[in-house]
């Protein structure tokens, strides 16, 4: 139990997908100019990461590992992810049109989000069980959403500042991200205890 909790805290804060592992950076830089957008993107991505991690785990456990098809991992995983995104879209559209209206627009962006594939690959490396890997994926996605929203808040504020013209826009975005990553270094070493 404690291990699981530690695994999750680690995935959210210490080894944050975005700031420590450098995954999903394009959406981190691209879709964070407004907090509301970042929230939507975070929710949609969390869902897809979790679902596709389950799919990829099954694929790995029941197909790739037993038949020694490790080299097909990338191809199959990405197909699973594309499928998961599509599936998610259909399900949400059927089940909850209001939710679809808020999340739907984010879905196409997710297929090309490194975080989804990255988390799946990390899972394989970690040799986790099903429950563990689902939780790990979920926690990683939470970490992703957390920094997305926090960063969007920062950028909304920076957008109102008199940033030197040379730095306005993406450059100051990167610099803000740098300082955010610096702050997150405070969490390093938490799992060691």
């Amino acid at each position: 139990m404690q291990d699981l909790a530690l695994l999750m805290v680690g995935a959210v804060l210490v080894n944050n997908v975005v700031l420590e592992r450098f995954l999903g950076l394009c959406s981190f830089m691209g879709v964070t100019t407004k907090v509301d957008t970042a929230v939507g993107m975070g929710m949609a991505t969390t869902f897809v990461i979790t679902v596709s991690a389950m799919g990829d785990w099954s694929l790995q456990t029941f197909l790739l590992a037993p038949y020694d098809l490790g080299y097909l991992r990338t191809v199959t995983f990405i197909l699973v992810i594309a499928g998961a995104v599509q599936f998610t879209e259909m399900v949400i559209r059927k089940v909850s049109p209001p939710l679809f209206r808020t999340l739907g627009i984010y879905l196409p962006l997710i297929t090309t989000n490194c975080a989804v594939l990255g988390v799946a690959l990390l899972l394989v490396e970690g040799h986790y069980g099903f429950i563990q890997s689902t939780l790990f994926a979920f926690a990683s996605a939470l970490g992703y959403s957390l920094v997305m929203v926090v960063f969007a808040g920062l950028r909304e504020r920076v957008a109102l500042a008199d940033v030197p013209p040379l730095f306005a826009g993406p450059p100051i975005g990167f610099i803000t991200a740098s300082l955010l990553a610096l702050a997150f270094m405070g969490f390093s070493g938490i799992s060691a205890n």
Binding site: C26, S27, M29, G30, V31, T33, K34, T37, G40, M41, L63, Y67, L69, L72, V75, T76, L79, V80, A82, G83, Q86, F87, E89, M90, R93, I105, Y106, P108, L109, T112, D162, P165, L166
Partner: protein, 184 residues
Amino acid sequence: MLVAVGSLALMGATLGTVLGVASRYLAVKSDPLEADLQALLPGSQCGQCGYVGCAPAAAALAKGEAPVTLCIPGGRAVAERLARRLGLEADLSGHEDAEPQYAVIDEKLCIGCLRCFQECTTDAIVGAAKQIHTVIADNCHGCAKCFQTCPTQAVSMHKIQINLADWHWQKPKLRSGLKTRRRH
């Protein structure tokens, strides 16, 4: 080997079916301009334009809410293509940027020829044949068409003067202590 190739092909076929079905039954109707614009956008759904993907960006472009330079990954080429596509449809002639003005007809010069009356799209000009015309200033949107057509140059364009009711405070000037020597 067989397992590998087979399972991969099977996955592909399945996914293809799913997508096909999805596209068939869940197709969203979109307006043709939007579709055109979307086709011109890279489709990388990167979100850098500030919209959450190319489709919303195209929608915004179609509505004229976004500049053609919105797509960063698309760069210059896409901006040009967009401009071309939009340029055919929407000719944003200069009068939007011009200061708001209204037309005034000089009664001494007006010969009642009705030409201005026919030009005015908002019926801001009243009058009848061979009678002096006047402009209802409130209805005039300052397009200056009457100004251009009047054979006797009876129409003049005037800047709209602010009156007491419409006056409002100016936006405070930028901090005078700063930015005085801005180089860029």
